[in-house]
Structures are given as C-alpha cells and as structure tokens.
C-alpha cells in the first residue's frame, strides 16, 4: 500500500495553545488527502480534506496545509480544547480514488 506515516506518535499541548500534527506521504501521484479524528471507542470522524491542487484549506478552528514538494501534510488546530484530545490520522487516497491509506496516528492530549 501507500506509505503514509506520521512524524510523532504523541503530542501534548496546553489548553488554548495551537496544535500542529504532521504527516508524510510517499506517493507523489496522490491527489486527495483527509484528516480524521478518532476518540476512544469510536470510529474515525472526518475533520477536513484537501485536494492536490490546493496548498491550504481552512475549516472551523482547523487548517490543513499541503506541501507537495516535500510530500508533507499538516493539521493545525487553533485554540486547542480538551475535547480535541484524540488520535488523529491522515489518509491518502490512492490512484483509483477509492482506496484510503492511513498513517499510524498521532495521539493528542490537551492539558487543562
């Protein structure tokens, strides 16, 4: 499968600070990426996506940045809250457009 990985397995931040979660991918032909949030005991939930013709996309308190030159993806969470504590996965969509390849995940802990 595609090689999608995360730089850091765990991340702790103070409540109110900004969080940055990173992801590297190997297939330069991939053109669709998604960030998911997974809380304990639940399935992954869609956060935000980005296509390869963009380098930045913003949602509510979240921003995804895509650097195709170095094949790097990041998720920025503004004003991190305790409810943001979860495992975050990036996913790369393969050339078929239907197969998702997930990284191993980063566990985010928000310290009150």
């Amino acid at each position: 499968g595609e090689n999608v990985g995360l730089h850091l397995p765990t991340l702790s931040v103070q409540e109110g600070d900004n969080s940055i979660i990173n992801c590297a991918y190997s297939n330069s032909a991939s053109d669709y990426f998604i960030w998911y949030k997974q809380e304990s005991g639940k399935g992954p939930q869609f956060i935000i996506d980005i296509r390869s013709n963009m380098d930045k996309r913003q949602g509510q308190r979240v921003t995804v940045l895509l650097n195709k030159t170095v094949k790097h993806l990041s998720l920025q969470i503004a004003a991190t809250q305790p409810g943001d504590s979860a495992v975050y996965f990036c996913a790369e969509i393969g050339a078929s457009g239907n197969q998702f390849y997930f990284g191993t995940g980063t566990s985010l802990t928000v310290i009150p």
Partner: protein, 112 residues
C-alpha cells in the same frame, strides 16, 4: 455515524471457528469497506465493494472473505479465525471516488 451499523460490537471466539461480521448502511452509498485497526499499524484495508456482488481485495485480505448481496449490507467472514485476527474491525462507506469515508463504531474481535 452516517447511518452505519456494525454487528456485533464485541465478540470472543475460539481459534478455528468461522466468524461473520456485518455492516449495514442506510445511506444507499455505492462503496463499502472493511478495515482492521491494530496498534502501530493504523487502519488497513481488508476488502472493499464498489457495488452489489462487486468486491476487491485490499492490502491485508488473506484469511478474509466478503459478500455483498444487497446495497445496504457488506459481510466480512473469517473462514477459520486465528489469534492474529484479533483486532478492531471498522466498516466504512463512501458516496463515490475522491470523497470522504464515513465509519461505523467498530467491532472488537478477540480470538482465543
């Protein structure tokens, strides 16, 4: 949970026994997927379906089979369960190519 129901939610079974997990969707989405999630590996695709009776293998399909006789149901069968198949299994659905996947709540399977 985007109208996805997985059953059972928890199961303990003995090595060598057959096991079938069910995924039911009410969204009438064309694509359905089965993933397994293990520590250190993230989510890995087992099999997916792109329509009734149309299925294909993912990256970790050995020891698993699937069937889709109706749009709303996608079954995952372990013909003869092994301890290495102890995992959390997630079903996902997508509307089409290059769209986000919605996940079920997961099934925790333990093979003893």
């Amino acid at each position: 949970d985007a109208g996805i129901t997985q059953s059972p939610r928890h199961k303990v079974t003995e090595t060598g026994t057959p096991v079938t997990l069910r995924c039911h969707q009410t969204e009438n989405h064309r694509y359905m997927y089965w993933y397994r999630q293990d520590p250190g590996h993230g989510l890995r695709l087992i099999h997916y379906s792109y329509g009734v009776k149309d299925t294909d293998k993912g990256e970790v399909s050995d020891g698993y089979s699937v069937s889709r006789s109706k749009t709303e149901d996608f079954l995952l069968t372990l013909e003869s369960a092994t301890s290495s198949q102890t995992s959390v299994y997630f079903c996902a659905i997508t509307m089409g190519s290059y769209t986000e996947a919605f996940f079920g709540q997961g099934t925790r399977l333990t093979v003893v």
